[in-house]
């Protein structure tokens, strides 16, 4: 998922285009342009790890890829049950792709629950690799199967590979010192080895990874390596796997450069560290654990040698409070959370608006309301970010469109916060946070200069030699940032309305009106780039406009619609407040505007209110991202309207 808007006009589609190759030795090798694999098993089966490793192998091989981890909120739901199924979907290709794929071509099912939970997603003809050892009467009954689906014709439409994964793994490890129970746990590596053979993945990375992961338990490390190799050899030798597949590197999908695979939360954490470096301000993260944002706290806490201070607070309010206190002291203050946490932080965000101090509020959105769906994705916090405070409390909002963009948008959020002395929202979501894609590693020299100047001199225009904390920059309307420790600039700020300029408490009606309008004007005046539109023919009548993580599925849907002859333009908002200056003009250029969102039409509501355009919503709040085929259908329907 390289997610560059200019590439959406490419001729590649997200659909199949397999080419067969002649037989190679005893086994045939078939060349594919893309594959979607889903690993599914019990929460304790290590499916996320298996998926991560396959992803790393695939990234290293040079395919474009996009991933979708999908797991329950329970850490270990009852074994063998449908709610306990954890899965990891990976889409990889020899060309630029945009989504984790609508439907798996291959399902690896570690038990009956994993098969049952995922079967409905499989298209006819898909391959299923099942661990037959788990298909016991008891396990089948647990998921409501009276008969064994492996025998009763349930899977007649699929290409099924029954493999005794557990038995084969235990057999392979019988010479090791591992107990049977421990040996069984290596079955996910057997499966990974088998899939690695099937798709010609490089294997050294996984072996190195396993030895590093279990460095303190070498016997476990070697057992896993052995299981992994046995799985690979099983594919090579057994007759039940007659075909293996090649998916060539995606040479044309990538601009030259150094690449790595990166998830949204990791990119975001790196973006925050980069923002700290580029601004010269120490990073202070105040945070309270919450899914799906906690990984940012974990990651940043590892990088204390970058001057990063992480503070795990007693609650969400203390997390943002501490970040704001650190910002008062001259740090780059950040708080990371998800929707329920934002609700708790609202009052402090309002305080930051009033204090006019830089502060980053990172919201990794999840399904709501209330606790909602903690591990699933949604983008229903837009209006909360936009309006969820008492009084007129405008806050700039940015939203990355892909996992890799979380890095760039973290820098952008910091740029806005520091230049305008304001809290800034960054809206990511569970899909971006946990999904991953190849990412071109930027050179440090390419990163923006975010240096700020603290106030060091008295500035009172009355010649008193005093300091006025609210004397604004005429261009940006930002107030001076004078940090404690600066002699002569001692001042008091607070959440009570203050006189513009002096910062002294003021209940004067005209001053309050002026301050409310000034704070709004400051945010309205934040400089953001114009919105680029992708309209290859220049004659589209329909504009599809999205924001945030829906970029991939929307772009994939648009490609399909275009491939079918549809004249459709696409644009994607990374700046939600203020909107790009050209947005109104752009919206009016098209006869129809379609806004797909994973909420009930929040952006569409803003667009209609702001620009008086008849923006049509297409919405889904299932906790899952849109599918390309689904959006292609909606787009062609809109085109036929």
């Amino acid at each position: 998922m390289t997610s560059r808007v200019e590439e959406t006009g490419s001729t590649f589609d997200e659909s199949h285009d397999p080419e067969s190759e002649p037989a190679n030795g005893g086994k045939r090798v078939r060349r594919l342009d893309r594959v979607v694999i889903r690993f599914a098993g019990d929460s304790g089966d290590g499916m996320q790890l298996t998926g991560d490793r396959f992803t790393s192998e695939t990234a290293g091989f040079g395919n474009d890829l996009s991933t979708l981890p999908n797991f329950p909120a329970e850490i270990r739901a009852p074994a063998g049950t449908l709610p306990g199924v954890s899965s990891f979907q990976l889409h990889f290709a020899d060309h630029d792709i945009l989504t984790p794929g609508d439907a798996p071509d291959v399902l690896v099912a570690m038990n009956p629950a994993a098969l049952k939970a995922n079967l409905a997603d499989l298209p006819r003809g898909a391959e299923i690799i099942v661990n037959t050892d788990e298909f016991t009467k008891r396990a089948l009954a647990k998921v409501g199967w009276q008969a064994d689906p492996l025998d009763d014709g349930t899977l007649a439409e699929y290409r099924v590979h029954p493999v005794a994964l557990t038995t084969l793994t235990v057999e392979a490890l019988k010479e090791t010192s591992l107990s049977r129970k421990d040996a069984e746990r290596a079955k996910n590596m057997f499966a990974l080895g088998l899939l690695s053979w099937m798709y010609h993945r490089p294997t050294e990375g996984t072996e190195t990874f396993l030895r590093a992961k279990f460095a303190k338990k070498p016997e476990i490390a070697e057992a896993n390596v052995l299981a992994f190799r046995t799985g690979w050899n099983y594919g090579e030798t057994t007759e039940s796997f007659a075909v293996s597949y090649e998916v060539a590197p995606a040479a044309r999908a990538f601009a030259p450069g150094r690449y790595r695979n990166i998830s949204g939360n990791l990119a975001l954490a790196y973006g925050l560290i980069a923002a700290s470096r580029q601004s010269g301000l120490p990073l202070f993260l105040g945070s309270y654990p919450i899914t799906p944002a906690s990984d940012i706290l974990h990651e940043l806490s590892k990088h204390k040698n970058f001057g990063v201070r992480t503070f795990q607070a007693e609650d969400e309010i203390a997390g943002i409070g501490a970040a704001l206190g650190a910002a008062f002291g001259g740090a780059l203050g950040v708080t990371t959370t998800s929707g329920p946490g934002v609700a708790l932080k609202s009052e402090t965000i309002g305080l930051a608006v009033s204090l006019e101090l830089p502060l980053l509020v990172v919201d990794i959105q999840r399904g709501g309301p209330s606790t909602g769906l903690p591990t699933k994705t949604e983008q229903a916090d837009l209006l909360q970010a936009m309006f969820g405070r008492n009084g007129e409390a405008p806050v700039p909002i940015v939203a990355p469109a892909s996992p890799g963009e979380c890095f760039t948008m973290a820098l952008e959020a910091a740029r806005i916060a520091l230049a305008y002395r304001t809290p800034v929202f960054l809206l990511s979501d569970g899909y971006l946070a946990n999904g991953s894609e190849p990412w071109r590693v930027p050179e440090v020299s390419e990163l923006p200069d975010l240096r700020v100047e603290f106030a060091t001199e008295p500035n009172a225009p009355d010649g008193s030699g005093g300091f006025w904390p609210y004397l604004r920059d005429p261009q940006t309307l930002a107030r001076p940032w004078a940090v404690p420790g600066t002699p002569g600039l001692e001042h008091r700020i607070g959440g009570i309305e203050k006189q513009d300029g002096t910062g002294n408490i003021s209940y004067d009606p005209a001053n309050h009106d002026h301050m409310v309008r000034t704070r709004q004007a400051k945010v309205d005046g934040v400089s953001v780039p114009d919105l680029a539109v992708d309209d290859p023919g220049g004659d589209a009548g329909l504009l599809v406009l999205g924001w945030g993580s829906t970029f991939g599925p929307i772009a994939a849907g648009v490609r399909r619609a275009r491939a079918a002859g549809g004249r459709v333009a696409q644009a994607h908002l990374r700046y939600l407040n203020p909107f790009p200056a050209n947005l109104g003009e752009l919206l009016r250029r098209y006869d129809r505007v379609l806004v797909p969102e994973m909420n009930l039409g929040q952006l569409a509501m803003l667009l209609r209110a702001r620009y008086l355009v008849d923006a049509r919503s297409f919405t889904q709040v299932s906790g899952m991202p849109f599918k390309a085929a689904q959006l292609a259908a909606v787009i062609s329907e809109a085109l036929d309207d």
Binding site: F284, G286, G307, E457, G488
Partner: protein
């Protein structure tokens, strides 16, 4: 460019500040007769003693009558939101260990809406000095009962008497693993100053409960402790190293603020007749901010200054040409 010198720095570089240097130009707007005036005067009188230039001092408050305090001091200050001052001050003190950070709060601010932040600041032992003005009433919202109001209190919101068991702030603080706990009275400037001095010397979080008279909504709440006719019998003045008795004919105990076992301090915190004032506990333990910053130094010592380019690349990259 004119060279800016910290206020009070004399020609030879020595710091010589007076109470006047800590008065801001803002008009003080508490009710006439409020106990806050006496506390403000005592703090302004005490701050020069610290020997810290005023730009290195920060007062952070929440919401309530007491929380207007920072506006009247010429240091750096922040009047924040209800109950959150300890959290905000924690972020500041943790990232700026060079500052002297003070929290001004009241019984409603610290013990009701901000109770969670107070207890966690105390257990963490961030380098904060928390001055809790306890007047046992909500003043700024005009007279509702507070978490320290006595049971049965008749107020605007409890016309038939309040039903809540009150907090004993010092017991709560000790239960939250506070290293420094003290009590003093607004009108006893000498005692108040001595307690501030002890709190300032403590490394870590210090909680000072200040009995403060709200002459509008709860006048005379501490009169028995102030009236020359009753106060000597009503007060138990604690001095480190000096003996005291919990009851007139009880066993004599030598007061030891450094006793690592908080049991005696806790017993004192429960006592009302007489009411102990002074330092109940002053036990040194590592301050959070120092430890946090030591971890940063340790990380640099072990791994070197962070290399951004190496971080972004990670260990698993490939080239596209």
């Amino acid at each position: 460019m004119t060279e800016i010198k910290a206020t009070g720095v004399t020609a030879n570089g020595a710091l010589k500040l007076t109470a006047k240097d800590f008065k801001s130009d803002q008009e003080v707007r508490w009710c006439p007769g409020c106990g806050d005036y006496a506390i403000l005067a005592a703090v302004q009188g005490f701050l020069p003693e610290l020997g810290i230039p005023r730009e290195k001092i920060v007062f952070i408050s929440g919401i309530g009558c007491s929380s207007r305090f920072p506006y009247y001091l010429s240091t750096y200050g922040m009047h924040s939101i209800h109950g959150r001052a300890p959290a905000i001050a924690t972020g500041l003190a943790s990232s700026r260990p060079d500052l002297s950070v003070w929290v001004i709060t009241g019984d409603g601010d610290a013990l009701s809406i901000g109770g969670n932040h107070l207890i966690h600041a105390l257990r963490r032992n961030v380098n904060l000095k928390i001055l809790l003005f306890n007047n046992r009433i909500y003043g700024l919202t005009k007279g509702q009962y507070s978490p320290t109001s006595e049971p049965g209190k008749i107020t605007k919101s409890t016309p038939m008497g309040s039903l809540d068991e009150p907090f004993r702030p010092l017991s709560l603080a000790l239960g939250a693993e506070a290293g420094f706990v003290a009590r003093t009275i607004d009108s006893d400037r000498q005692h108040l100053t001595s307690v501030l001095r002890a709190a300032a010397q403590h490394q870590g979080t210090a909680l000072v409960e200040i009995y403060q008279n709200c002459n509008i909504f709860n006048d005379g709440a501490f009169e028995v402790l102030k009236d020359p006719a009753t106060r000597d019998a009503a007060l138990l003045r604690l001095e480190h190293g000096q003996p005291y008795r919990l009851t007139p004919d009880g066993e004599e105990i030598v007061h030891d603020v450094t006793d690592p076992d908080p049991t005696r301090a806790f017993a004192l915190s429960r006592l009302t007749e007489p009411t102990p004032i002074g330092v109940l506990r002053a036990v040194a333990r590592p301050a959070y901010d120092r430890q946090l910053n030591a971890q940063l130094d340790q990380a640099v010592a072990e791994r070197g200054e962070g290399d951004l380019s190496a971080l972004l690349s990670g260990s698993d990259t490939w080239m596209v040409r």
